[in-house]
């Protein structure tokens, strides 16, 4: 189990190093990328099954006992996230090979992807707040380079905003970690959880909690901190924006869920009401932002913001059902969102544009792609029985339970506007006749290989929808672990709080 727990971090590192060594052998790098991420997916699934059966797993790196060394700790949430990251990585690897962006592939594209996945997985598995910061840095640097790789003008523009605002997030994060260590004297999450539970003077902790909220809020792209996302996600090659869309903001959401269930609990800091308000504003501003866009990937980018609102809505409501809803939402969203970006990419490769007014007639020219678009698009809008419906249903049910009427109205209203957005894309790009003259088709790109990950992810979406029962059971188990941190604490520290 120990090897399995550290594999999601070490394997991508090894793949990255290997790809670096094979700098001039793009074909070998491709094979490594596909095979490696495939292997990673299998290993992480194995890890998830192990944790589901045997409970939370912990590794103390260098055998330095907690809280003195760095511990990796995987509970169900962490393992679920690792599985999702690995699946996304696998899909992106396949897609990248298909997309054939030769120049970028010659300049360290694959090593960067591996390192990014390493950072993401590290963030999901670490049990140490400063180590989390380090993984955030790994992610930030590799994602920035991926974003800017190629140096096209819009890429650089988007990249500068991305880097500046995310760097600001890091500064806030580091400040918060410093302050937290200053008052609590420890960095281990479980140890922190034990120590905050014994304390009376919480004023400083509330302030630190706010700082973490701001830092993770930037990463997760919540209102009013999301600006870097719509400014940058439509600029890099489709594979890269698919990878980012699926994973990056979700690491922020994950960190928020982790810290605000384990350490900054509602009875300690009373910040969950604020989180609820931010969730509502995020949903609304995101979806309205999408309504204002007429470019495929820009629409999708704003929808990421909107969907993040749903995920932290569950955190704000803070019941087992609500958290299960958030986790269900994460699972649904990562798959669906990555897929939509990949589809937008295929459209872009084939027709040379993502502007809805220059697109059209895809229903006729690309019937299979149309069907494959409908699945994630309808799922995103929450049409039953696809995955997004259950994700939203769980959150609304949780809100009904505690009579959070405003939240119900917001969540449902936003889902209607999401449906509107998706129908807009459908009507304009797929149903409408192609404008005259038709956009110049770029058929030189191999698209068959790019369809495989799209089909794979669409299948997962359908499976999550029809297998909502088992998936919910998993999400609920994960949520229960979060609601009762004593298991986590016990697993890491070996003592009960």
């Amino acid at each position: 189990m120990n090897g399995l727990l550290i594999a999601p971090v070490l394997l991508p590192l090894l793949l990255g190093i290997l790809s670096l060594l094979l700098w001039h052998h793009v074909r070998a790098q491709r094979v490594i990328a596909v095979a490696g991420t495939g292997l990673l997916t299998l290993l992480s699934l194995r890890l998830l099954i192990g944790i589901y059966r045997h409970g939370i797993q912990v590794v103390h790196l260098g055998n330095w006992e907690a809280p003195f060394g760095i511990s990796l700790a995987a509970d169900l949430l962490g393992a679920i996230m690792v599985v999702l990251a690995s699946i996304t990585g696998f899909a992106i690897a396949l897609y990248s090979v298909g997309a054939n962006e030769r120049q970028r592939e010659c300049f360290g594209y694959y090593p960067l992807v591996h390192i990014l996945i390493m950072g993401v997985n590290g963030a999901f598995l670490t049990g140490d707040i400063f180590n989390l910061y380090v993984w955030f840095e790994v992610m930030l640097m590799s994602s920035f380079v991926l974003l800017a790789l190629g140096g096209e003008k819009p890429q650089i523009e988007g990249g500068v905003k991305y880097m500046a605002l995310n760097f600001f997030s890091s500064v806030i994060f580091l400040t918060a970690v410093g302050l937290l260590y200053g008052v609590m004297g420890t960095l281990n999450l479980a140890d922190l959880a034990v120590k905050v539970r014994g304390t009376e003077s919480t004023g400083m902790l509330v302030v630190i909690g706010c700082l973490f909220l701001a830092s993770f809020g930037i990463k997760a792209a919540i209102f009013p901190l999301f600006f870097w996302l719509p400014a940058s996600y439509h600029t890099p090659p489709p594979a890269v924006s698919g990878l980012f869309a699926g994973l990056l903001t979700k690491v922020g959401v994950y960190a928020m869920i982790r810290l605000f269930t384990l350490i900054f609990t509602p009875d300690l800091v009373h910040l969950h009401g604020l989180i609820l308000g931010l969730a509502a504003l995020t949903m609304v501003t995101g979806v309205l932002g999408a309504a204002a866009q007429f470019e495929f990937r820009r629409i999708l980018s704003f929808h990421i913001v909107s969907q993040i609102g749903y995920m932290i809505l569950g955190l704000g409501l803070f019941t087992p059902l609500a958290l299960a809803g958030s986790i269900f939402y994460l699972m649904h969203h990562i798959i669906v969102k990555t897929n939509l970006f990949l589809i937008a990419g295929i459209v872009h490769y084939r027709f040379g544009t993502g502007e809805l007014k220059s697109l059209g007639g895809l229903y006729k020219t690309a019937p299979w792609l149309s069907l494959l678009f409908l699945i994630p698009a309808l799922s995103l809008a929450g049409i039953p029985p696809l995955s997004g419906f259950f994700a939203k249903l769980l959150l609304v049910m949780a809100a009904v339970d505690i009579h959070a009427w405003g939240m119900i109205a917001t969540a449902l209203g936003v889902s209607l506007l999401t449906l509107y957005s998706m129908t807009k894309i459908w009507n304009e790009a797929f149903w409408k006749d192609a404008p005259t003259p038709p956009p110049p088709a770029r058929t030189d790109q191999s698209t068959i290989l790019m369809m495989i990950p799209v089909i794979l992810l669409a299948t997962i979406t359908v499976v999550i929808g029809f297998g909502a029962g088992p998936v919910f059971r998993l999400a609920l188990a994960a949520a229960n672990q979060l609601m009762n941190p004593s298991d986590y604490i016990h697993a890491v520290l070996g003592v009960s709080p």
């Binding site: 003195f68 060394g69 760095i70 120049q103 970028r104 300049f107 360290g108 390192i115 390493m118 950072g119 180590n131 380090v134 840095e137 790994v138 640097m141 920035f144 380079v145 790789l149 190629g150 140096g151 096209e152 003008k153 500068v160 605002l165 600001f168 806030i172 302050l179 200053g182 008052v183 609590m184 004297g185 420890t186 120590k195 003077s201 400083m204 302030v207 630190i208 706010c210 701001a214 009013p224 901190l225 870097w228 719509p230 501003t285 932002g289 204002a292 866009q293 419906f389 249903l393 009904v400 449902l412 889902s415 129908t423 009507n427 149903w431 409408k432 006749d433 909502a468 029962g469 609920l476």
Partner: protein
């Protein structure tokens, strides 16, 4: 039930395969599936009504949430299921001929089959979530069918409108059902409607109100009725099936289903009945001015749905009976008339009523089917339409309702004449295509359904016993003696019927005066809900563009301001309110070293802020960095000081090198902007300083650093604790940071060398 659902679903999904094999003959064969389902349902109905009971099936689904796949079959759902499969069989058969030689027929029939399964799911479902899932699927399949001719903008817009209106209603419905389920402690409709304590729940009326919105949007009640006439962009079989006889009745179904519970709410009599009556009136009046066959029919559908809603709102046994008969009658004659409209359009290419006439010689069978349906719609004896109208008048609730009903009846006579009779009689008119009789697949439907309108009325007692009574009892939720008789004698209802008929004939003869009388109402519709919808959509569109332009302004500075403000308003606010400031009592006295150092720092800061030259500003920043390093030296952290010195030197050198290539420094921002920036920066600086200061006094738990100094030599074999922390205790951090550096180096190289776009492949 589950067997039938699966049969139709699988049939629907496999339609493309069948088409590949059988081509255009597929539809006529696929129609056997609903026909078979119809027969199975008849069998189930026969075995059921002996017990007067209800079939329940329940499969486990998500036990943790009390979700089960539960279905129920009683008189009400059976009636609907028979209509869905019976009319469905004819419509599928019809579609085969309608789309003969048209490659999009396959897609149409596939969606039609899937719709059929979804609609059956709605009426079978006992679990509210199951109900909702199927409900949404009917909305979505309806979207696909309305937008079938997707190359036309009108079809796309109508499809979007129907989806948004019914979709919005669906969300209200979901909220209402969830609240109801939570209040009633069960998700099963069968147990909710018999829950006698539920009406006393504080949220009962709210839940019912939300559900009503859902039902009203689906069943096109005022003010949500506008989507239905627009939905006539769909091919005729879809209009006949979804938008007259089945899907739009889902709302009515839901109201009927919840009837035993709903009558306990004041909303039932005070909202449902008036809205129904209003819709009955509006639909009928709006129909009057229409000149296109299908739109004309659509408005009477709106009107009829209003009538059913009104009757359910009355809440009495007589009204329930009337609602059931009316529903049955309407489904039969309206489906026929729509199918006929489709035939006329298909064979002659004409949609405009005034361009049609004398078709009876060309298409005798169609004319007969149309005539039968029209007779029923007019309410002539002996038809179901007649029965329905009699019962409607018998269930009356005062003069207002009654006069609206009579008025609507008058328009029904008129519309029946215009759509079912007028095109076939009189002089033959030349049409776009020379008309001829449609194939049997197309006229069989109107013929059979029209014939049934009469047959079921002639054998009223049988219809009453086997169809109406079980359904009405299910609506009422209690066994009631219900009999259906065709002839009631010369009573008040018959007089009203005659009056209606007379008025109708007058409306046909005196088209001009009557239309002048009602034209203000039709004209008022210009500012009606359809316009609100368009304005709303436009408002959202423009509002979101405006909002996004403000939020996502494109200025990095604005984004940073937003983040800073967020921090000040959350963390800063809590800091002021909750953290006791420690005061300065514990500090030691300021000595000369501190004073010199701090003054130096202040001078350097001022220099950095005020300097107009980049180099001077960088130099000042360097001084600040060294000053901080000196503080580290003074307070016992020489290793930190060394690191700080090295980094500071490097930074200054790098910045100088980089800035050397930049253009001359220019002040770009305005004075107010600079004042604002200054204020924000000062606030952040004060907050950060105060917070750090307060934190150094606010220790909650002792630090764990003792462990490192104790173990560094003994267990980790290193004398420099910091080194041991970096490479052993917290080696993982170091690994991460090394990776960051590698990636940064990689990035720097790639950014410098790889330029796609500008100078392609500048990498070599």
């Amino acid at each position: 039930m589950i067997g039938i659902l699966t049969l139709l679903l699988v049939g629907g999904f496999l339609t493309p395969l069948f088409y590949r094999r059988w081509g255009d003959r597929t539809a006529s064969r696929l129609a056997l599936l609903p026909a078979l389902s119809f027969l199975l349902l008849v069998g189930m109905g026969g075995s059921m009504s002996g017990q007067g009971g209800i079939h329940l099936i329940s499969l486990t689904w998500i036990p943790e949430l009390n979700f089960t796949l539960s279905f129920a079959l009683d008189g009400l759902s059976l009636l609907f299921a028979l209509l869905i499969t019976g009319i469905g069989a004819f419509v599928v058969w019809y579609s085969g001929a309608y789309f003969d030689g048209d490659p999009t027929g396959c897609r149409f029939v596939m969606v039609l089959m899937l719709f059929m399964a979804s609609m059956l799911g709605v009426v079978f479902a006992d679990h509210v979530i199951v109900l909702f899932i199927f409900w949404e699927l009917t909305s979505f399949t309806s979207f696909l069918l309305i937008g079938h001719n997707h190359r036309e903008e009108a079809a796309r817009k109508a499809a979007l409108q129907a989806l948004l209106v019914t979709g919005a209603g669906g969300l209200f419905l979901l909220a209402g059902l969830l609240i109801l389920a939570r209040a009633g402690g069960s998700y099963e409709l069968s147990s909710l409607i018999t829950n006698t304590s539920l009406p006393a729940h504080p949220l009962f009326n709210e839940a019912i109100a939300l559900i009503l919105v859902g039902a009203f949007t689906k069943s096109a009640q005022v003010p949500f009725h506008f989507w239905l006439p627009n939905a006539m962009q769909a091919p005729s079989p879809a209009s006949a099936y979804l938008h007259s006889s089945t899907m739009v009745k889902a709302g009515v179904y839901l109201l009927a289903r919840l009837h035993p519970l709903g009558v306990e709410s004041w909303l039932w009599s005070d909202v449902v009945a008036p809205i129904g009556a209003l819709t009955l009136f509006t639909g009928a009046v709006m129909a009057y001015g229409q000149v296109y066959l299908k739109r004309l029919l659509a408005y009477t559908t709106v009107s009829a749905l209003g009538g059913m809603t009104m009757l359910i709102g009355f809440g009495s046994p007589a009204a329930a009976k009337a609602a059931v008969v009316f529903l049955l009658a309407h489904a039969l004659y309206k489906a026929s008339l729509f199918l006929v409209a489709g035939i006329i359009d298909h064979e002659t290419g004409e949609k405009h009523i005034d361009r049609l006439g004398g078709l009876r010689t060309l298409m005798p069978w169609t004319a007969l089917g149309a005539g039968l349906a029209a007779v029923s719609m007019m309410g002539l004896p002996p038809t179901l339409g007649f029965l329905g109208k009699e019962l409607l008048y018998a269930a009356d609730r005062g003069l207002v309702y009654l006069s609206i009903s009579v008025l609507a009846g008058m328009f029904f006579v008129y519309v029946a004449y215009r759509t079912g009779v007028r095109p076939f009689v009189g002089l033959h008119r030349v049409t776009q295509k020379p008309g001829h009789e449609a194939p049997p697949a197309m006229w069989a439907g109107p013929m059979t359904l029209g014939g049934l309108s009469i047959l079921l009325a002639v054998f009223a007692s049988v219809t009453g016993k086997w169809i109406v009574a079980p359904a009405a009892q299910a609506v009422l939720g209690e066994p009631t003696a219900i009999k259906l008789v065709l002839w009631h004698g010369w009573n008040r209802e018959l007089m009203l019927s005659l009056l209606t008929l007379g008025l109708g004939v007058a409306a046909i003869l005196l088209v001009r005066p009557v239309s002048r009388l009602f034209s203000p109402v039709s004209r008022a519709a210009v500012i009606g809900p359809d316009a609100w919808y368009r304005a709303g959509l436009k408002g959202i569109q423009q509002g979101s563009v405006g909002l996004t332009r403000i939020l996502q302004s494109g200025y990095l500075r604005a984004y940073i301001d937003s983040i800073v403000l967020f921090i000040l308003l959350t963390a800063g606010w809590h800091f002021l309110g909750k953290v006791p400031f420690p005061g300065f009592a514990e500090l030691h006295a300021v000595d000369i070293n501190d004073l010199i150092l701090v003054s130096l720092l202040f001078v350097a800061i001022a220099g950095a802020l005020l300097s107009r030259s980049r180099m001077a500003a960088i130099a000042s920043l360097g001084v600040i960095g060294y000053g901080i390093a000196l503080i580290f030296v003074l307070y016992g952290a020489p290793d930190l000081a060394m690191t700080q010195m090295v980094i500071e030197t490097l930074t200054v050198i790098l910045l100088v090198l980089a800035f050397y290539h930049l253009p001359k420094f220019a002040l770009r921002s305005s004075r107010p902007a600079r004042i604002r920036d200054f204020a924000l920066a000062t606030a952040v600086a004060l907050f950060t300083g105060a917070m750090t200061y307060a934190a150094s006094f606010g220790e909650i738990a002792p630090p764990i650093s003792w462990f490192y100094s104790e173990n560094s030599w003994l267990n980790a074999y290193g004398k420099n604790v910091v080194n041991v922390i970096l490479v052993d205790f917290r080696a993982m951090d170091t690994l991460g940071e090394i990776t960051v550096l590698t990636v940064a180096a990689l990035g720097a190289m790639a950014l410098l060398k790889l330029r796609i776009g500008g100078q392609k492949g500048g990498g070599s």
